[in-house]
Symmetry: C2
Subunit: 353 residues, 2 copies
């Protein structure tokens, strides 16, 4: 079995984790290593579901928090093994998110006593189709394991709390026309010309910037694809503009769809993708205490992450982890050693009995 | 050798021609049959270039006309063999343009004496890439064979003269932007949104309708393709609208391009395809006499045809043939027997010594 040593420092542990290749679908080796190490710790109750490992303390505290991280990475891109320089650890998954997983494992391994009960969740298949997502599957098969007052997803957030997340909706807006030879265009109706009105509405659109729990969420409404055309000498009878609406978490998916119907009133609309936002929930005592403990600063999260799954379960959740989120999925991803140390230190201080 | 009998009536001859399959690239059999039959006629000088057959009279008249037709068809579409009912002959190529070829062959075979000298041209590969076009190749290798005062292309025109043809130009109009994650769209510039202004100009455009030689040409400016997009969560950095401009023959290709630069001023433009129009040339005596002889009516031709090749050589040319041009390239194409008879009769009357 590939070995993992939880007694080394967070830098070495991150390096060990990066060097266990775990592209989505290939997490068995890393999950085995994590599980076997956690099972050696007397203060943890460990269970395994596929390649997802859950470890819980049972100190009897009134408060329980989930500390979660995915153990898979995007595909290899000539960026293994790990390489460390004076400031950073480089390699596949260093940023997204083996640095965060290393911090969580360090906390699990070295803090037998904590001031809150903890449920650690190390899950698979976050980087692929949603139906394979280990956290989603665990929430469906064993929802009781995710019960908590607060959740921390250790996704890269530059070591600053990112709260909530925006929802995302994709709709296809289609215009119809009537084909005709372009030499006799008066016999037809040009569907691409019809799409001018759709694009005009997009360019005229003013996105909302609602403030929720003190955080300003900037929405966005953007065409992400456009396509139409039959042949070089034919008036097209159909044109589709695919629109992505990123909406603040004060709006539900249904409200977002209703808003799109309003914006594109008079056009044919089809919803092709939808995911709800997550309220920051910073008003909840456990969340407020955490933000306070790690520096008092929280930013709104614009991109969609698994925190929305906790939100859907009624659990306030934040992203908090080492690494620049803009480096995620890039060949040159790395995690700053300073952030690894800082995040571990902040988590320790917050959980210290 | 597949036989062809030029002594039968125009209905039977059309049927024989339709039943010799001659999809572009496969014209050898029909060209052999046409050539061998024309070689039996003492009043014709016959020559062959690839699968293009040329036959000329040498009566010593002051005037020479070209009578031309292509012998290839678009691909088979379960529409062979020919089928005749009381009114129409159905089958691949019946309309486009074996009916017209049959009329030309009937004139060649049965009018040893005519009041004008005639150059018959039966050519291949009209329905495919321009570089293979038999008429184009003949004009390049033996331009002297196309010298004439007037040319008739026996393309389907519903038995009414269609004069000149419009030019056609295709340009790609491209807008540029800057990629960004759609959850943080303020960091980018959406190129599809930028295309709104391109489509707005298209919808606001008012096409010209110039009158030339008494014929009104209706221009057209149409988007025929639009494409843009990188991923469902990315602001696109490029969007291309392909525009087809059909321009009246009083405008040159260079003028048409200049006009596009004017219309899309401020945008990146690339010319992807261009073909000149052809002036109707009905003021030329030979052309005027022909129109008079076949009923006095002429319509403008909107679609591009090989008449433009004659125009480029300084030879006025018209389309005149049996069959509805809107049926060309359709599985159900047919030619009305009445039009076959009428066009043959009109050609005979015009050429009768």
């Amino acid at each position: 079995m590939t070995s993992l040593d939880l007694t080394v420092d967070v830098f070495d542990l991150t390096e060990q984790l990066v060097n266990i290749e775990s592209v989505s679908g290939n997490e068995q080796v890393i999950a085995d290593a994590v599980e076997s190490q956690l099972r050696t710790l007397a203060h943890l109750e460990v269970s395994r579901y596929g390649n997802t490992v859950v470890a819980r303390t049972h100190h009897g505290h009134a408060e329980r928090v989930v500390i979660a991280g995915h153990i898979d990475t995007v595909p290899l891109n000539e960026n293994l093994p790990a390489r460390r320089d004076e400031k950073n650890l480089h390699g596949l998954g260093a940023c997204d998110m083996k640095g965060g997983v290393a911090v969580a494992l360090r906390v699990a391994a070295t803090m037998p006593v904590t001031n809150r009960d903890i449920t650690f969740v190390f899950y698979d298949c976050e980087e692929v189709e949603e139906y394979r997502n280990g956290l989603k599957l665990l929430g469906e098969s064993h929802p009781e394991l995710l019960e908590a007052d607060f959740a921390i997803l250790m996704e890269p957030s530059d070591a600053v709390v990112e709260a909530g997340c925006q929802g995302t909706l994709r709709v296809d807006v289609t215009t119809r026309g009537e084909r005709a030879h372009s030499a006799r265009s008066w016999n037809g109706v040009n569907a691409i010309h019809g799409a001018a009105a759709v694009l005009d509405r997009l360019t005229a659109y003013e996105p909302r910037r609602p403030v929720i729990d003190g955080l300003e969420y900037r929405e966005g409404l953007n065409a992400v694809f456009v396509s139409g055309g039959v042949a070089g000498n034919v008036l097209p009878d159909s044109c589709t503009v695919s629109v992505n609406y990123r909406f603040a978490p004060d709006r539900s998916e249904a409200e977002a769809v209703a808003h799109m119907r309003e914006v594109f009133d008079g056009f044919e609309i089809e919803v092709t993708d939808s995911a709800p936002g997550a309220m920051p929930g910073l008003g909840v005592p456990a969340a407020a205490a955490f933000v306070e403990a790690v520096g008092g600063t929280a930013n709104p999260k614009f991109g969609w992450t698994d925190v929305a799954r906790f939100s859907a379960l009624g659990i306030p959740a934040v992203n908090f982890g080492p690494g620049d989120p803009l480096l995620a999925h890039k060949q040159e991803e790395f995690v700053p050693l300073e952030q690894l140390a800082q995040v571990e230190e902040q988590m320790r201080r917050w959980l210290a009995g």
